[in-house]
């Protein structure tokens, strides 16, 4: 490896802790798609956090027009309902707004669990190798054999229908991809000179994993986390659409199911099912855009 020409040796200060965190995450700022993705997330996060302020009504409340009729199937704009109402008299706009809350809650929690479990398993399997690796990877093989959507449905049948079913199911099954990839990354890192140097310097395995290996796999964990968010939201939408979702919480999937059941298409009530569909597409796409941004950072040669 050639010597680096150390011409202008820069005097550097220890970067601020926030700056170091950002560097660790290596947020993909160069890719316009990734930036768009981040912005979309930002918008939806704001909407979710301030749902109470933004929504005009309670999403589950059955509403009435000033003339004391049921406010059912109203077109957008009528009687102050921005996006119209459902066949049952609920405000679509408010449902959309609160729906973002469920979506993001599930998405982020599930992504976090998947990334966390997958990373830990990948780290342990990759670093310790031998029988630990063998057992954990056989577990992953089993997880790979489980068809995901049917599994969620079965789970919903055993547990109470709840939005957390998706999270639990993902935590139990979808860590498999992350674990595999993290493990191979760890296998590469393990051969690095500085890992051995740490051993020679007397560092314990735990210390080596924590200080030398984990920071280098964090970007990958985030990559797979981003993918997982999209999956979680899609899965929740699918489950709700199929009717296995939580009837007490309003989600976009629930809206789609509700619209379908109420024959919204026949009624040409596009204002009902198109917005939640678009929201799902936007959020899931945003997740994948960010993923692509990370890929460009982690594996720059791929873009050639």
């Amino acid at each position: 490896m050639p010597e680096i020409a150390a011409a202008a040796i820069i005097k550097s200060r220890r970067p601020h802790i926030l700056a170091r965190m950002f560097r660790a995450l290596r947020l993909p700022m160069n890719d316009p798609f990734a930036v768009a993705g981040l912005l979309i997330y930002l918008v939806f996060i704001v909407v979710a956090v301030f749902a109470d302020q933004i929504a005009t009504h309670d999403p589950t409340e059955i509403l009435y027009t000033p003339a004391y009729d049921l406010a059912a199937d109203l077109r957008p704009g009528q009687d102050g309902f921005i996006m119209g109402t459902t066949s049952l008299g609920r405000d679509i706009f408010s449902q959309l707004v609160y729906g973002s809350r469920s979506a993001l809650l599930i998405g982020i929690t599930a992504a976090f669990m998947v990334a966390l479990i997958g990373s830990i398993i990948g780290l342990v399997a990759g670093y310790f190798g031998r029988w630990v690796d063998a057992i954990l990877m056989r577990l992953a093989d089993i997880a790979f054999g489980i068809p995901f959507l049917p599994f969620v449905i079965v789970l919903a049948a055993f547990l109470r229908p709840s939005i957390w079913n998706v999270v639990i199911a993902m935590a139990l099954v979808l860590w498999r991809d992350t674990a595999r990839v993290i493990r191979s990354q760890v296998l590469t890192l393990r051969t690095r000179g500085y890992v051995e140097a740490a051993r020679v310097a007397g560092s314990s395995d735990f210390k080596i994993i924590l200080r030398h290996i984990a920071p280098n796999i964090l970007p990958l964990s985030f990559l797979y986390g981003s993918i997982a968010i999209g999956w979680a939201i899609l899965t929740e939408a699918s489950i709700s659409f199929l009717g296995f979702g939580d009837p007490d919480s309003i989600s976009w999937g629930y809206m789609l199911q509700d619209a379908f059941a109420s024959q919204a298409l026949a009624k040409q009530a596009y204002y009902w099912f198109v917005p939640p569909g678009i929201c799902i597409i936007l959020v899931v796409s945003a997740g994948f855009f960010i993923t692509r941004g990370y890929e460009n950072i982690l594996f720059p040669k791929l873009s050639r």
Partner: protein, 338 residues
């Protein structure tokens, strides 16, 4: 006597890295006589690999020849269109890249890879290609039976011989080898170098050997071109440049090589400092910060002085080289650079 086979005049090659331009080669000039082995010597970052690649125009996408001429057989290789250049590759000029032994395709037999060159570029039919392949293997010292083996079945040294055979396939006039023996053990290295020398004598092909190891150059080269920071510090016959170096950098390089035949107590003398950043090259002589003989005048661009016919030196004090050489042999000279 005769005209040189290849003549490089003031060659300039630059890379674009982000928004910066790195001037990897900044005005290199040298001649390659026919039937010689020339060593292109220098440390990392001096531009020798870039020069070697520029000669066959296989430089990176973000690099370009920004000036100068490469005169070969009446053509200027820096300027001819790609099609013409492509016709010359393998047939007139062959290039063995660094770690060529690792760039053999693992899923094809070596015979297939040789045949690819012979048939597609040489226009041979299958029988002719086979005959030539056997001939080539004999030339580089590999058993012809091994033509049907795959690259991973050969040792590193053998693979390097295969790479040499590939270069020789179409009987080129010039072979450019980039660090051909660096990755090899010393015994294999010696055997490959012997083979190269023998081939050169037998076939009369000219060779440019790019390396950082002046012992290798001393072993088989007739001529030396010493590069530093993108420029040619000095060039001349190998005897002249190594036994009686005229540029302070060559003098310093000499000191840094432990000599097995010399006294054991010899101190190795480093050259303190590091080469300059070629994205922002300094004005004046590039070796000035590390040179024990630097004077104020060295802040201006040094002239090229011929200390002997065919031995140009890029130094303000080239005419004093005999005296400086004596100074340079003393360790103390290098301990406190100017």
């Amino acid at each position: 006597m005769s005209e040189p086979l290849l003549s490089v005049r003031d060659l300039r090659v630059s890379y674009q890295v982000g928004r910066n331009f790195v001037h990897a080669v900044d005005g290199a000039s040298f001649d390659i006589p026919r039937g010689s082995i020339t060593g292109l010597v220098g440390e990392s970052g001096c531009g020798k690999t870039t020069v070697a690649r520029a000669l066959t125009r296989v430089i990176a996408e973000n690099a370009a020849i920004t000036g100068g001429q490469i005169l070969f057989d009446g053509k200027d290789l820096a300027k001819i269109p790609e099609r013409e250049m492509n016709a010359l590759r393998w047939r007139d000029i062959a290039f063995i890249p660094q770690s060529a032994m690792n760039s053999l395709d693992p899923v094809y037999t070596v015979e297939y890879q040789l045949a690819e060159v012979l048939r597609r570029r040489g226009g041979m039919n299958r029988k002719q290609a086979r005959a030539r392949s056997e001939e080539l293997f004999e030339m580089v010292g590999i058993d012809a039976n091994r033509l049907n083996d795959y690259p991973h079945q050969f040792s590193g040294g053998m693979r390097q011989r295969v790479a040499i055979a590939l270069a020789l396939a179409l009987d080129p006039k010039l072979i450019i080898a980039d660090e051909p023996v660096t990755a090899l053990d010393v015994i294999v290295q010696r055997q490959i170098l012997d083979q190269l020398k023998e081939l050169q004598t037998r076939l009369g092909v000219s060779v440019i050997l790019v390396t950082h190891d002046i012992s290798v150059v001393a072993y088989i080269c007739d001529r030396t071109v010493v590069m530093y920071a993108g420029k040619v510090a000095e060039s001349g016959t190998m005897q002249a440049a190594l036994t009686a170096p005229s540029h302070p950098y060559t003098m310093g390089l000499r000191n840094a090589f432990p000599d097995l035949q010399g006294a054991a107590s010899g101190i190795l003398t480093p050259i303190e400092g590091a080469p300059p950043n070629l994205a922002n090259p300094p004005t004046g002589c590039r070796f000035k910060p590390r040179c024990p003989f630097a004077l104020d005048i060295c802040g201006t661009e040094p002239p090229v002085v011929d200390v002997a016919p065919g031995h140009p030196v890029l130094c303000h004090r080239a005419n004093e080289s005999a005296a400086l050489r004596i100074e340079a042999a003393r360790t103390e000279t290098w301990m406190a650079p100017a």
